[in-house]
């Protein structure tokens, strides 16, 4: 469960997030969509502990990330928009290092990594250097690394950039299964069809605030559009207002 209570974030004198309140329940998939510069990535960085809020509190499964950062971070799996890793590491080393940071014993880690690599069919690439991986393979490793320690919350910033259509389907299945097993997901994306297909709730984020939110059907109804309208059209309709 994610609870955001009165969170603001300022960079110098510029406010990016304005007094935000948001609650995402356990087993819920929340997609945050919005124009560039709305503050979506900043919000996800606040939740993952990469940034500190200027005001307000963030609770992850009831743990305050400012007061107990280590405990809170152990609950999160984070998939970044840019899957950059140290060039001098192999994929296996990267996964192992991440596992070690989450205190997973070495022998367990190795078994888990082998199992995870099979999901995207990338077994055989793990002992080669990260600098030689394509964008897609890097993205796959970053998704798998986020799952390695069995998190209860997934924070995702653009999950399918660089992935081929088959890998996109695999990713959607991973996320779908994660939510069905009781996990909580907050995803920031511009790829609206993924949000439309997977999200149980969608929020339109603009200028550091949630402009409107609801299920896909609720958003279509509120916009007075026909049932067959895509999220893309719904999005454009709201922004035009």
């Amino acid at each position: 469960m994610i609870e955001i209570k009165g969170v603001s974030k300022k960079f110098k004198d510029k406010t990016i997030i304005h007094n935000l309140d948001l609650s995402i329940k356990k087993g819920e998939f929340y997609a945050l969509i919005g124009p560039n510069g709305a503050g979506k990535s900043t919000l996800i960085k606040l939740l993952s502990g990469l940034l500190q809020p200027t005001k307000g509190e963030i609770l992850l499964d009831g743990v305050n990330i400012l007061e107990n950062p280590k405990e809170a971070k152990a609950l999160i799996g984070y998939i970044p928009d840019e899957p950059t890793v140290w060039d001098g590491m192999t994929g296996f080393e990267f996964m192992n290092f991440v596992g070690a940071l989450y205190n997973i014993p070495a022998n367990e880690r190795e078994k888990d990594i082998k199992k995870l690599l099979k999901i995207y069919n990338i077994t055989g690439t793990e002992h080669q250097l990260y600098q030689d991986y394509s964008r897609g393979v890097r993205q796959k490793y970053s998704i798998l690394a986020a799952l390695l320690h069995n998190p209860s919350i997934l924070l995702i910033d653009e999950p399918i950039v660089g992935l081929d259509p088959i890998s996109i389907d695999i990713t959607k299945n991973i996320l779908d299964e994660f939510v069905r097993e009781g996990g909580t997901v907050l995803m920031v994306t511009h790829t609206l069809f993924v949000a439309q297909e997977l999200a149980t709730r969608i929020g339109l984020f603009e200028k550091g605030k949630i402009k409107i939110e609801g299920t896909y059907k609720e958003l279509v109804d509120k916009a007075h559009l026909t049932a067959k309208t895509s999220l893309d059209d719904v999005y454009k309709n709201y922004l035009a207002k």
Binding site: K73, E93, N96
Partner: protein, 558 residues
């Protein structure tokens, strides 16, 4: 193209304008303090030069020959350092992925100019900051006029440019050699790593050869006879050094007030400018081809990678967070050939200095019952050691948090605090520097016949100072992470980078001077140890405090 040049040339002005746009007074004050520290370093080097020359001048039989020998060694060192720095900067420029978008535009050849300019600027400012006080010290001691001093600046600048250009040419040559070998064996072997390995081997051989020429087997025979005989012996041996001629011009200018120095300086400067233009034209023509060759690599997009080498992956056996950070740092230092090149160059120079100590002592002992070196030599050995440690800390520790800007999502979201990361980095870098530095320092003291107790005191001060240097670099890295660059060469020229260089060098000079006084007043060492320990505790506390507020990401501009 001219538009791009205009933009490029206006860039430094814009940087200064942006820097002073906010908190103007505080920032001007910070720059003022920085300039004061640089001035302090300059004055210290200036005074040390005069003191050294004063010491040499007491030996009437040797002094004139020694002046010539010092000029030769000084210019050889300047050449080798410019050469090494140039290879590192030019190699880094081909590794930057951020230049891809410029290389895809019709103005791609501007990067040849940018890199050459960056390379010369990075070589010149640091060397001139140290070299100018040395030249001024010599001029003051020898009583030469302002024109000759000015010409010696011009000459030294020209030498630094030539050394840097030689580095660029060596790098280009190694890339083209690899390309030629690739066509011979029918497989592409051109890579950054291989080019650097090739240059490391050549550089080690070159330094060994120069050392063999520059350091005589027998100093007594080398300086035997009157001035004319001494000069004859030296010239016969040192003529094989690449810097022999230009060092002779410097000697003429500063030590002999010789009018020929002026003519040769003008000729050499003209030749340097010609060489610079030629190399720019060469680089301009071949930059794109070299870029393309060096950007090629393996491309792993799935399972079909049988032709690509695999690595023996390390499995991070520890669970302790700090231990894992240490393992990660070691692994990455080992895998990056440029890092290894840095260690090879710095440790190689330090070992070369140790070998000189050994040769001089062994030679002196052949002619007497153990020569006793003046006290300042021991303090100088300590200063040299701390200087090398500062150079390593500037390359590895100071950029460490900024360099992890793009991978911050891994460490920042994991259940590990920035303080744990800082502790891991403190332990690993202090460990490496002490592991490499202590044996070399102790070897120097053993060779020079330093007593056990004073050597122990010196080693304690050295170890505490290494911790101090690493802590200072770490504190600045956490307190002032750079959100725009992760390149160590660029970071070293930022204001915090300059502050680190100035403080580390200034501290080194103060510590070495106090340790010189310690030899006549042992009580001072207790005070010094207490002072450094207090500074270490203070910096630890400051680093802890800034790490609590550390943010892994900055403002996202969209």
């Amino acid at each position: 193209m001219s538009e791009s040049f205009g933009l490029l040339l206006s860039y430094p002005g814009q940087v200064i304008k942006r820097y002073l746009a906010r908190e103007k007074f505080t920032r001007i004050f910070a720059v003022f303090i920085l300039l004061l520290i640089i001035l302090f370093i300059g004055v210290s080097i200036y005074v040390t030069t005069i003191e050294g020359l004063n010491f040499i001048s007491r030996d009437i039989e040797l002094r004139d020959a020694l002046y010539f020998y010092i000029a030769q060694l000084f210019y050889l060192l300047v050449f080798v350092l410019s050469f090494g720095n140039s290879i590192l900067v030019i190699a880094a420029s081909f590794a930057r992925k951020s230049h891809q978008w410029i290389m895809a535009t019709p103005s791609f050849s501007i990067m040849a100019f940018v890199n050459l300019f960056q390379l010369l600027a990075s070589s010149l400012w640091i060397f001139l900051a140290v070299i100018i006080p040395v030249l001024m010290g010599i001029a003051q001691f020898m009583g030469v006029d302002g024109l000759q001093l000015f010409l010696s600046f011009v000459l030294t600048t020209a030498l630094i440019i030539v050394g840097s250009i030689c580095g660029v040419l060596a790098y280009m040559l190694s890339v083209y050699l690899l390309r030629y070998l690739s066509t011979l064996i029918g497989r592409n072997i051109v890579s950054q790593s291989l080019a650097i390995i090739l240059l490391v081997i050549s550089s080690v051989l070159m330094i060994a050869l120069f050392w063999r020429i520059a350091i005589p087997q027998d100093f007594v025979k080398f300086f035997d006879g009157n001035y004319i005989v001494q000069m004859q012996t030296m010239k016969e041996q040192l003529i094989y050094l690449p810097t022999f001629g230009i060092a002779q011009v410097l000697h003429d200018l500063l030590f002999c007030s010789n009018i020929f120095g002026t003519t040769y300086t003008i000729i050499f400067t003209g030749l340097t400018l010609g060489l610079l233009i030629t190399v720019y034209v060469l680089l301009d023509k071949s930059y794109l081809v070299m870029w393309q060759l060096l950007q090629e690599g393996n491309y792993i997009a799935g399972q079909d990678n049988k032709r690509i080498n695999t690595y023996k992956s390390y499995n991070f056996p520890a669970i302790n967070a700090v231990h894992n950070i240490i393992d990660k740092e070691l692994l990455l230092i080992w895998r990056d050939k440029k890092n290894l090149l840095w260690f090879v160059i710095v440790i190689g120079l330090w070992l070369a200095q140790t070998a000189v100590s050994w040769r001089v002592t062994a030679n002196a002992n052949n002619y007497g019952d153990g020569y006793v070196f003046p006290d300042f030599v021991y303090a100088l050995i300590l200063a040299i050691g701390l200087y090398f440690i500062s150079a390593l800390a500037l390359r590895f520790v100071f950029p460490t948090f900024s360099a992890e800007r793009k991978v911050a999502w891994i460490l920042g979201v994991a259940p590990i605090s920035p303080w744990n990361i800082a502790v891991g980095k403190l332990l690993i870098y202090t460990g490496i520097f002490l592991f490499l530095g202590s044996p070399i320092l102790i070897a120097n003291f053993v060779i020079l016949g330093f007593g056990f107790f004073p050597a122990l005191l010196y080693w304690i001060v050295f170890s505490l100072s290494v911790i101090l240097i690493v802590l200072l670099a770490l504190y600045l890295s956490v307190a002032h992470p750079n959100r725009f660059s992760s390149d160590p060469e660029t970071l070293s020229t930022t204001l915090p980078g300059l502050a680190f260089t100035s403080l580390a060098l200034g501290g080194t000079i103060i510590i070495a001077n106090i340790m010189y006084l310690v030899l006549s007043n042992v009580d001072l060492v207790v005070l010094l140890v207490l002072l450094i320990t207090t500074l270490n505790l203070l910096l630890t506390s400051l680093t802890y405090n800034v790490s609590k507020k550390f943010e892994y990401a900055g403002e996202i501009i969209a």
